[in-house]
Amino acid sequence: MHGKVRFALVLGASWGVVVLAGAAIVLLAAADLGEAERALLGPILRERAPSLTLATLLLLVPLAFIVRALCRRYVTAPAKLVEDAHIMLAANPSHRASPRGSAEIRRLAAGLNAFADVRESLLRDVDARVREANEHIEEERNRLAALMSELAHSVIVCNVEGRILLYNARAMQLLRKPLDEAGAPGKAHSLVGLGRSVFAIFDRNVIIHALETLHDRLRQRTRAPVASFVAATPAGQLVRVQMAPVRSTASDRTAENARDAVTGFVLVVDNITRRIESGNRRDLLLETLTQGTRASLASMRAAIETIASFPEMDQEARDRFVAIIGEEARRLSACLDETGSEFADSLRTEWPLEDMRGSDLIAAARRRIESRVGVPTKLEKVDESIWLKVDSYSLMQGIAYLVKRLHDEFGIREIRFGLEAAGQFAHLDVIWSGAPLGVETTMSWQTDPMAAGGEASPLTLKQVIERHSAEIWYQIHKPSQREYFRIAIPLTQPEEAAWSAPAVGASRPEFYDFDLFHQSGQRPEQDDRALAQLSYTVFDTETTGLSPSGGDEIVSIGAVRVVNGRLLDHEVFEQLIDPQRDMSPEASRITGIEASMLEHQPTIDKVLPAFLAFCEDTVLVAHNAAFDMRFLHLKEEATGVRFTHPVLDTLLLSAAIHPQLESHGLEAIAERMGVNPIGRHTALGDAIMTGEIFLRMIPLLAQQGIRTLGQARAASRTTYLARIEY
């Protein structure tokens, strides 16, 4: 309601109340009067009626003043306050409510202002942090950009949807699309650009297949999961593309959800057109010189041997053989001359191949067949140790193509796969039963363009097989009434064995860390360095017993590095040690280390120098460090290896964080901090767990004002003393 209208209404109402109250008093008084008094008073009042009415109306003026004052104090002041609050909230955090109105409302305004003060400073703080973080990111990005621009390879970084997030100039240059057929230089636009789709450059299916290969390798915890493929660029260049995953920073990443953990991929593109050409030349030369000359040599040798074997041969026959020898000799010479000049012009594209585990290829083919062709598949005997040299995408396409034709034309309802080694080849069998094929069918299947699984490939199965220097044939196994295509593919040795990473809840990959640029020299002696910036070696030992001075010895050391607030689970130290004394059954039970495992292990004097090197320039961290340090110090004299590093103890730090709690055992802390215990009671397992705990302690310590190494050591000393006093 409008202010003035409301004011008028309130005023009118209060006036009415006053007038009615006056009238009521007059009426009450009148009821009390006697007849004579009323007769006396009546005319007097009637005479004074105009002035009484005027007085009543004049009453409005003081009433208006009173109502206005009340409005100001109790209506306008709160309304202003609301307005001020809106301004502070929406427009200007520095605006403050001016005190007005009643005392209560003034106090309310003061309270509101106090809130605003706090909010404003918080906002400033957040702004500052955001700015800081942005600068940090910007700096990293510039560094990355500088690095990428120096690379000789073309690099493209994409998210999982295939949108380009980052690329370098070389990638832009290489992946141009010619505007006209001739592809004249300068008249080309690049297909690479931020936010563009990488599928405009490379076939979507090839990329997806490579991603699937990556996922498989991630699941197998390959050390460097990389998939590669060969593709033609829009400008007709042949490129080899290596794909590496960009992994998420989610800390719960495990082998099972590797798929979710990949947030994008990096493509490193290498122009191999020239390399292929020269490689082809060599291959073709070899082929011409071997295969091409065999036929001529065979004719010559047969003719010569025939003449020699039949000396009684008539002249006419002899002349014919001599003519053949002469002709084939001339043909051989001509062949040699030609190969020297001609082979360069007749190039057939040969594909570089990658190493792949045979069982992975079959798994990929099965997935494709089951999802696209809709034929269930099973495995027969599959030799897991077989590695093949393949272009996995085209070969997988070829297999799916065969199955589709079997399904479409012969109604085959189930396919089985077998894989076994045979000499230098692997036999990959695509097996079915109940539909023998004719030679013509198998011939035409190999020479028809493949169109299996919904995508057209310009290649034929025959070309795919040739690309692999492989062979394919159809066979019937009579006793079992089964038919199969056997694909014989050259075997290879794996470029690296699948590598099993230490079983830890991995954080982001640690192979790079731009924050290391901020490291102002590794001098952990300095007590005023911030805890979060130091490098640590978190370690644990397993021993023959609990008495270092009573002759117990170290049997195992495990350690992991923590750098820049990250646990580097690829940078670990793990070593069993021959204690040169008996291992008690009790100790074996706890540590899981049998005496037999320690035979032929190095002795402590060999291990400690290596461990010292591993710990160089770091702060040592251990749980109940005093115990482990005692063992190390006792060996100083014998080994000459001195550990003079600063040491932090997670047990003491835990006591500093939670002084009121009594349990500071490794497991109890792990549970409190939400760290999963993995591989407990191995030195490395415990070290990694300690490292995870230590990382989570750093922010908790900071809350208590413990931010530097010196402060942490001081706090440890205090809790140590406190614990002793108890």
Binding site: T290, Q291, G292, R294, A295, S296, L297, A298, S299, M300, R301, A302, A303, E305, T306, S309, F310, A317, R320, F321, I324, E327, E328, A422, G423, Q424, F425, G438, V439, T442, M443, A470, E471, W473, Y474, Q475, R486, A488
Partner: protein, 122 residues
């Protein structure tokens, strides 16, 4: 006893020697210079043994061999593959599709003759 030999090869210069050798062994010889011709000849000539080159026009030796093996009427025909392809894998494939012997070019005529004798049970 005279046997019937089919020589299927598109290289005339090797055919001359093969033909001469087989005739000297006392066999009846027929020559085909490509795969299809050879397949026709198998039906008409009904050979006891085929000397079969792999790389022929129209139809390869592998395919011809498999076609012959598909027909039960031709069960008794012996097949010797001759090829300039000498890799282990081609030999395996040749034997897998039903060849009785695989001889890599260039070959020794004496060994070829011995192999033919052996297959014909002489």
């Amino acid at each position: 006893m005279a046997k019937r030999i089919l020589i299927a090869d598109d290289e005339p210069n090797i055919v001359v020697s093969l033909e001469f050798l087989m005739k000297k062994m006392g066999h009846v010889v027929r020559v085909a210079s490509n795969g299809e011709e050879a397949l026709d000849a198998v039906g008409e000539f009904n050979p006891d043994l085929i000397l079969l080159d792999i790389m022929m026009p129209r139809m390869s030796g592998f395919d011809l061999c498999q076609t012959v093996r598909e027909n039960p009427a031709w069960k008794g025909i012996k097949i010797v593959m001759l090829s300039a392809k000498g890799r282990e894998i081609e030999v395996n494939k040749g034997m897998a599709v039903g060849a009785d012997a695989y001889v890599t070019k260039p070959f020794s005529t004496r060994e070829l003759v011995a192999k033919v004798r052996e297959l014909l049970g002489e």
